[in-house]
């Protein structure tokens, strides 16, 4: 099978991004040059020196100037991209436009709501519950300021998610902490009761913003970044940040924040059951346990710019989640497409007719959910970095992949999973010397174990929950099997989901279990990330309320209290933690990522880097650093697998672009249509 889909597109997009960045940088340099020329003086030497000093002093300001040029730069970049030989994109775009169906002629699509994880949303109000089952539905019927999009012509260089305008135009960047969003005037609520297609106005935005901050559990994360949000009479919203925050536009476009919800449906109490928004799809029905149904919004403001999208007349998202039933239904044409998993890829491949083109049928996407072995750091042996490194070097990741991934598209994950474009492949030369900690090296693992005082290995119970499904359980089993050869004798100890989340997931490990170490778990940490910042803030940061690493009070100042908490007076058989070294993250004993000053400094630094390439490099360094700390030992990344029947089409026919984030309903689904004639022919 040829290399295809995501990885090919990724390279192409990066080329486009580079062209964009190049243009952006040229624009920035030009602006800086103009500024310098403007400060002209006859004394060349003095001027040069002064300019250098001024340049150093005003680095931040120049970055702002670069940002301010983004809007113009985007257009310049598109021209530059074409001029620099990115003909493929242009040709495809042209082909796409000519291939678009007439609006509303895109048939009716039926597919599982969230693939094998489908299930009822408990509410349709995205501010009431954070579950993906609620958040994902919002992208279908609601609009927001700017949105995640696939294949958008304008990509902001300071963001990772590809964004485009939604209810607002792309923002003007006034300075590093001030963004101005101009509302579009052609945005209307759906033409159904009680909104009846009225225009979306500034009062609606401010109403929904207040409600978001009042009700949504996600508002706290937003408030940490955003200091002010002010609507003016000129349809401009000025957003002020507390400090420069590189991924701000990703945050603003994220499908977990700030959906515009009209006051009418909040007032009449139907927000949880009958959403009315300004998004691409008009909500029709939610039949619990069966399906969610939408029909196309013929007045979608983005549709005018995109050839009349959304193209499908109606879409039905079923709550079916059994893999066998889904696979048979796709093969029979009862379902048009579905998110699957690597674990059932072979079964799906076997079920489809031999005549189908596999390269067209399957699309693989990178895995953005970090996961692996994780630990309690305050008690041996896992507080010793050598043991964590040894565990990592004892893992035969390629062996695990061969046992769990039939697609052949999987790979290794670093400390930030495989989040594009920041992921640095631990297998690559670019990763540098710390790449060694990911490679299977049993001899080196043994040396590390010897040095740490565990020459015979360790026996350990590995906590987990089996509720993530058979594929994940197989992954756990493969990981445990492969490290056993190096002396890590592990036994899976599963807990029921809620019990697991209540204890192990929050770092509350039992002290010991029949003489075995039990301060170890395996599992995923965080889903739905669109930027590494999501992971840094939620998983690693000391300011995170999650504390996957254990007690929430692990600071040197309350060391005694934490020690008491960790041992619980019942640490029989374990060496006491050295009170003097506890809290020093880079020592062998004590402390997890929460206390790692180096790591947190790196987090802070990358947040201030508004230049994407610089930020990527900084995050690459973080990944290298995380590799030598192994705060968690990443397992492998099996890809997301999407199956598309041949009659499912997108404007870029050869390259269907599924979106891996919660924004699928607004970023991908509007641009898909069903070739009914082909479907009739094939089924």
């Amino acid at each position: 099978m040829s290399e295809r889909n995501y990885w090919q597109r990724m390279r192409r997009r990066q080329l486009s991004r580079r062209a964009l960045l190049g243009a952006s940088a040229r624009a920035g340099v030009g602006a800086a040059g103009l500024a310098l020329v403007g400060c002209g003086d006859d004394d060349d030497d003095g001027q040069q020196a002064a300019a250098q000093v001024q340049q150093q002093d005003q680095q931040q300001q120049q970055a702002m100037q670069q940002q301010a040029q983004q809007q113009q730069a985007q257009q310049a970049a598109q021209q530059a991209a074409q001029q620099e030989g990115d003909d493929q994109d242009a040709a495809m775009q042209q082909q796409a436009v000519s291939a678009l169906p007439a609006p509303g002629a895109g048939g009716t699509g039926v597919s599982p709501y969230v693939g094998l994880s489908s299930g009822d949303p408990p509410t349709l109000d995205p501010y009431e519950n954070l579950t993906y089952r609620t958040q994902i539905g919002s992208a279908y019927h609601y609009a927001k300021l700017i949105r995640e999009v696939e294949g958008a012509p304008g990509i902001s260089p300071i963001n990772t998610a590809e964004i485009s305008e939604d209810a607002s135009r792309l923002p003007e960047v006034i300075d590093a902490t001030t963004y101005v969003f101009n509302l579009r005037e052609d945005v209307h609520w759906h033409d159904v009761e009680p909104l009846n297609g009225r225009q979306l106005v500034m009062d609606d935005i401010m109403y929904t913003y207040d409600r978001f901050r009042e009700v949504s559990p996600n508002a706290a994360g937003w408030d940490k970044v955003v200091a002010s949000f002010e609507g003016g009479e000129d349809n401009a919203i000025t957003v002020g940040l507390h400090r420069p925050h590189a991924p701000f536009l990703t945050l603003a476009s994220s499908s977990q924040h700030l959906w515009f919800i009209p006051p009418e449906i909040v007032d009449d109490g139907t927000v949880a059951s009958r959403p009315v928004g300004a998004g691409p799809w008009i909500f029709e029905e939610f039949e619990p346990g069966v399906a969610l149904r939408w029909r196309r919004n013929p007045n979608w403001h983005i549709g005018n710019d995109t050839g009349g999208a959304p193209f499908q007349e109606t879409i039905t998202k079923t709550m079916q989640n059994d893999p066998n039933v889904i696979i048979q239904a796709i093969a029979d044409g009862n379902l048009d497409m579905s998110l699957l998993s690597a674990a059932v890829y072979r079964q799906m491949e076997d079920a489809i007719p031999d005549t189908y083109d596999l390269d067209r049928y399957f699309v693989f996407t990178p895995n953005t959910v970090p996961g692996g072995f994780y630990f309690n750091f305050s008690i041996p042996p896992w507080n010793d970095v050598r043991m964590r490194l040894a565990l990592s070097m004892a893992m035969d990741r390629d062996g695990v992949l061969s046992a769990t991934d039939d697609t052949g598209q999987g790979g290794w994950q670093s400390g930030i999973s495989q989040l594009p474009p920041f992921w640095l492949d631990p297998k690559s030369d670019e990763f540098g010397p710390n790449s060694q900690y990911f490679h299977l090296n049993r001899a080196e693992a043994q040396k590390l174990m010897d040095a740490a005082g565990y020459p015979d290995g360790v026996q350990a119970l590995v906590h987990n929950t089996a509720d993530y499904g058979a594929a994940t359980n197989n992954l756990y089993a493969a990981c445990i099997a492969t490290v056993a050869e190096s002396g890590f004798q592990m036994e899976i100890f599963s807990k029921e989901y809620a019990a697991y989340i209540a204890s192990i997931f929050r770092g509350n490990f039992p002290d010991q279990w029949d003489g075995e170490s039990s301060h170890l778990a395996i599992g995923p940490f965080y889903g739905g990330a669109t930027d590494p910042e999501d992971l840094f803030a939620a998983v690693y940061s000391r300011t995170s309320g999650r504390h996957n690493w254990g007690s929430s009070s692990r600071t040197p100042d309350n060391r005694d209290g934490v020690l008491a908490l960790d041992t619980g007076g019942n640490a029989e058989g374990w060496s006491p933690v050295d009170a003097d070294t506890f809290g020093h993250p880079n020592s062998a004993i004590g402390g997890g990522p929460e206390l790692d000053e180096t790591l947190h400094q790196m987090f802070d630094d990358q947040r201030a880097l508004l230049d994407l390439e610089e930020r990527i490099e900084a995050i690459n360094d973080i990944q290298r650093y995380l590799a030598e700390q192994m705060y968690y030992v990443p397992y492998v990344a099996t890809p997301g697998v999407y199956a598309f029947n041949p009659w499912v089409k997108q404007n870029d026919f050869e390259n269907i672009h599924p979106k891996t984030t919660y924004g699928w309903g607004g970023a991908f689904e509007p641009y898909v249509w069903m070739d009914q004639a082909l479907k009739d022919e094939l089924t």
Partner: protein, 321 residues
């Protein structure tokens, strides 16, 4: 008879009360609670877990002691309001149950019909032809039906039987019998057969055993001696008596069907109570769990009452007073 029925109906009240107290306490004792289940999707920003917990618990009233919460629930339940899911306010527990009870009941009823249709004749034939080849084959099938897990059988049917035989795939959505009966049956027939077959195993073995015992009774011998045809002996004399314990088992199986329906509803995407119950338990969604348990308890009580009353119809010697 009437007094007996009234007495049994009155007994429903303390039974239900006991069930609700027990369920509520058991859910309370389970490790992890509803707020814990939110933590995986909690971004951890802006507030600590403790603050997050306090806020959510205050919002949902979970910060009050158990007896207060139970008392409130009971008071509202007595007024016909079983509350709202902790996970979201899409619809009330009453609305949830109204749409889900018929699905589970329909699946259970169809499975019972399938099980009975299969088990009774097979059990009788097996008994009448005791130790013949047919008896051995049928007994073997019954053991197989008992031993094979329903979910495994379902996977085999979907993944192998359907493609091999070229059968059309099952509908991916659900229609109620009133909306579209053929479509409804197309969705229901496979899970009903699978559930019915599982039910038929023990029922068939019991029918066979009871028939063998009855066929050796004096009154059967007398009937044969009187010159009655064998069919009349078996159907009118033997079967009627053999069915009394079978009826009891059918009653008990009807309760167990709720459990079986969880698996079938999950695999075949049927919007019934079983599927909802599993999700609610996983999320510690107490109002949903309580609501469904009340329905299941009520169902079991009523089915048992009906079975008891049916004894008197089947066996005239039984009189309730």
């Amino acid at each position: 008879m009437n007094q007996y029925v009234i007495r049994r109906l009155l007994l429903i009240i303390p039974t239900l009360l006991g069930v609700t107290i027990l369920v509520s306490l058991l859910v309370e004792l389970l490790p992890g609670d509803f707020v814990d289940t939110l933590l995986e999707e909690y971004t951890g920003q802006g507030e600590s877990v403790q603050e997050f917990r306090a806020r959510i618990e205050a919002q949902l009233g979970l910060d009050r002691p158990w007896h207060e919460r139970y008392g409130d629930w009971l008071w509202n339940a007595l007024q016909g309001d079983l509350g709202t899911s902790l996970q979201g306010s899409f619809r009330t527990v009453n609305e949830e149950l109204q749409s889900r009870i018929p699905v589970t009941m329909e699946l259970g009823f169809l499975a019972l019909v399938v099980g009975t249709i299969v088990a009774l004749p097979v059990g009788v034939i097996s008994a009448v032809r005791q130790d013949s080849a047919a008896d051995y084959i049928l007994r073997g099938l019954a053991v197989l039906a008992l031993a094979v897990p329903g979910f495994w059988l379902a996977v085999i049917v979907i993944s192998i039987v359907f493609p091999t035989l070229g059968l059309p795939a099952l509908p991916v959505t659900y229609s109620t019998p009133t909306e579209d009966l053929p479509e409804n049956l197309r969705k229901m027939y496979v899970p009903a057969i699978l559930l019915g077959v599982a039910l038929a195993g023990p029922m068939m073995r019991l029918t066979r055993g009871e028939m063998l015992e009855v066929l050796r009774q004096d009154y059967v011998r007398t009937a044969r001696a009187k010159g009655l045809q064998e069919n009349a002996v078996i159907v009118q004399h033997a079967m009627r008596n053999a069915l009394i314990p079978v009826l009891t088992v059918i009653g008990l199986q009807a309760s167990l069907l709720i459990g079986g329906s969880v698996i079938m509803e999950s695999i075949f995407n049927l919007p019934g109570m079983g599927l909802k119950m599993i999700e609610a338990l996983k999320r510690r969604d107490i109002p949903i769990v309580m609501g469904i348990m009340v329905v299941i308890a009520l169902f079991v009580i009523v089915v048992n009452l009906v079975v008891d009353l049916a004894y008197s119809l089947v066996d005239p010697r039984i009189r309730y007073s």
